[in-house]
């Protein structure tokens, strides 16, 4: 019961945060020069027509009034219409959000097995050959810029060898897996080393604790001590870092989405900012914020499951 209460409390706390996010986004967009209608209508567009459309869309109203109109609609669950496409922002997000979510989950799924395997391998013999090799490769993975690696992968595995598509999202689940493999792989190569370093350090830390000695001296096997005591205790700090990384992946998806022409949220966000499509930027920011908070909540709940000492 207390867990449920906790969840409700956290969700309630999300409301003021979302309100804050919407205010900040609105102020930032309003303060950015640039006329969405001019960008939409094109270089040679007639000035009178632009003025007319601005008026029709309410863009000439005082900024505070615009915000309150927006807020009023938002409370009723209406994210407004895109200035560019005259379509509901909710529709645009509904089409782009699942793509990014798929990409992030895919990246996570690809990331976890190597992280666990490599960290355990490293921690088993600190400064041994395996540890050194993993460390060097890890530094390389961290040092290579994602966009550059993504470009190389696209050229090599996509254009040269023809193993994977270099663009798009596909229609079916298996097509999604196929189309997003290279984007997920390019992202993963940067994420894995961070998590490996973190988990390895935690593992080493835990392995030197007294309870490990105690367990071993009471005759528990090394494997069992590791599996039931050391590993669960080490996972917690990594799990928190992992939550931050997932939030970062959502926002940072724009890099791989651009290189691989994936029609996801990152793409939508950047295009909308460049086009000054205010309401899409607003809507997308709110969705990003909400997702981040849900991920954080999920990780906190997961932590209490793994370690009951942490109370919700």
């Amino acid at each position: 019961m207390s867990t449920l209460k906790y969840i409700c409390w956290r969700l309630l706390m999300a409301l003021p945060v979302l309100l804050g996010v919407s205010v900040v986004t609105f102020v930032l967009m309003a303060a950015t020069p640039g006329d969405p209608i001019r960008l939409l209508a094109g270089a040679r567009a007639d000035a009178d027509m632009i003025a007319l459309v601005r008026e029709r869309y309410g863009l000439d109203e005082p900024i505070l009034k615009q915000y309150f109109i927006y807020l009023k609609n938002l409370v009723q669950g209406d994210l407004g219409n895109s200035l560019r496409y005259r379509q509901p922002v909710a529709d645009l997000i509904a089409r782009h959000y699942p793509v990014t979510l798929f990409l992030v989950i895919y990246t996570v799924v690809l990331t976890l097995p190597p992280v666990v395997f490599l960290s355990v391998l490293s921690a088993r013999k600190p400064n041994g050959v395996a540890d050194q090799v993993i460390r060097v490769i890890g530094v390389l993975g961290l040092a290579v810029p994602v966009f550059w690696l993504a470009l190389l992968f696209a050229r090599f595995f996509g254009a040269q060898l023809g193993w994977f598509p270099v663009s798009g999202y596909g229609e079916t689940f298996s097509e999604h897996m196929w189309h997003l493999f290279l984007p997920a792989l390019s992202t993963m190569i940067w994420v894995v080393p961070i998590l490996v370093r973190n988990l390895r350090a935690a593992l080493l830390d835990e392995m030197n604790r007294d309870y490990v000695q105690a367990g071993l001296s009471k005759g528990l096997g090394r494997k069992q001590v590791f599996r039931t005591h050391v590993f669960p205790n080490s996972v917690l700090p990594t799990l928190n870092l992992f939550a931050v990384i997932v939030a970062y992946l959502l926002g940072g998806s724009v890099i791989v989405e651009t290189v691989y022409a994936v029609p996801g949220m990152g793409n939508l966000m950047v295009d909308s900012i460049l086009a000054r499509d205010y309401f899409v930027v607003q809507g997308a920011t709110l969705v990003f914020a909400l997702t981040t908070m849900l991920v954080m909540l999920a990780v906190d709940l997961l932590s209490t499951v793994i370690d009951p000492r942490i109370t919700a």
Binding site: R38, G42, A43, R95, G158, S167, E175, T258, A261
Partner: protein, 499 residues
Amino acid sequence: MLKLSYILPGAAAVVLSAGVACADNIVRIASPYKVTSLDPISAAAAGNIEAYGQLYTHLLRQNADGSLEPGLAESWTISDDKLVYQFELRDAKFSDGSTITAEDVAFSLTRAGGENSAYPAPFASISEVKAVDEDTVQIILTKPSAPLLAYTAIFNAGIVSKDDVEARGEDAFDANAVTSGPFTVQDWKPNDRLTLKANPHYWREGYPKIAGVDLIEVTDNNARSTMMLAGEIDVSRDVPWPQVDELNAADNISIPLDESTVIVILLPNHTAAPFDNLNIRKAAAMALNREAVAKVATQGRAQVANSTLPNALSYYAEDVQPPAYDPDGARALLEAEDAVGTEIELLIVPGRQELATLYKAQWDAVGFNTIVEVVDGGLWWDRVLGGEYQVTATWWYNETEDPDLAVRWALCGTCGNRSYYTNYNNERINELTDAALHEQDEEKRAAMYHEIQRISVDELAQIPIYYPPHPNAYSSRISGLTLTPSLQWTLEETEIVGD
């Protein structure tokens, strides 16, 4: 055995889905330019222009070589005073099977010149478009307009269904738009792609020859090139110049360099120091080795620009010349004006950095002190419209071969946008702009446009740099596709020849 029976359908599904993915009779075009609306009058940006041409038919149609031929209008007559154009329509249908009537034409053209139209300039001399009977329509002018026939083929003069637009309003231009052109909408995913399918009711029998088109929006230059190399698309619009050789060298890809009306220029602000001074503009022009700039920027694939108008336009003046490259002369001019060391701010958008570097190096060499400021498109427009700039590097193109709209856009000070917002205002050019529109005599018109170009080049209204072709890459899988100078894909004539 049990396992195999699980695997086989799965494998079959994968093979099948792969087969669907490279659907055989579809042409896939990746372009950085976005389709934001399917309403032909709502925008005049490249992505929209290119899509409108596939969706809506015109009274006259423009050939791949730019010449005009009968379109929806089978024939036409022009009154002796050149004020009444009468068109006889052929039997034609919209994509929903309803007949295209003279009422639809009158409605569409009136709309294109109306207050909701993003680009009413071509129709400014029209007083009325009226349906005489079911298949006869008249365009009545207040003053003669020499390029009027060409303007009926312009992107926003596409014919839309009056009944549908009146019934549905703006919603008439969603994914269920009623179209009159070679294609109709199959699926529209804004900010991703517009999928078109052949319009079964299109009046031109036997066309289009393909089943559909995928117009895919890919902002990133590298991504388009990789997609082209991987065979995921058939056309890549605007290949970046440094990648032209690489793509050309690939099997099955060619870059024929389609002729364009694009002109790359420098816009000086004529009402702000220091470029309000002709000698400073001259010094800036003489400091630039335009041949070298054109060569470096396009790998030698563009022609050096000599006129303020694109070289693909009618009446383009081959014999006008801005001051030749002369760094010493430029330095002397600056010294005479006591302007050595003058700080100038060059405003550019991302993607123009390479050109900006070339300009800066050459300007600084003669004694300017150039600061390059990079801003995004939205801010660029704010600054240029507000006259808050000294000089900016940009480009433009013209939708028709006739120079009327080009002059109105780039050189006329009283035609609505103050000579591409440079505030250049020459009364003689303003007069000639109107006179040339109404003049019916070819030779006299040519002389007028020649004078416009001579004056504007002498006064360096703008500094012309080069005339680039369209660096579009085409797969050998298709034939008959090109991008015309008026930014229309010849998709209705395109055929699939490879696999």
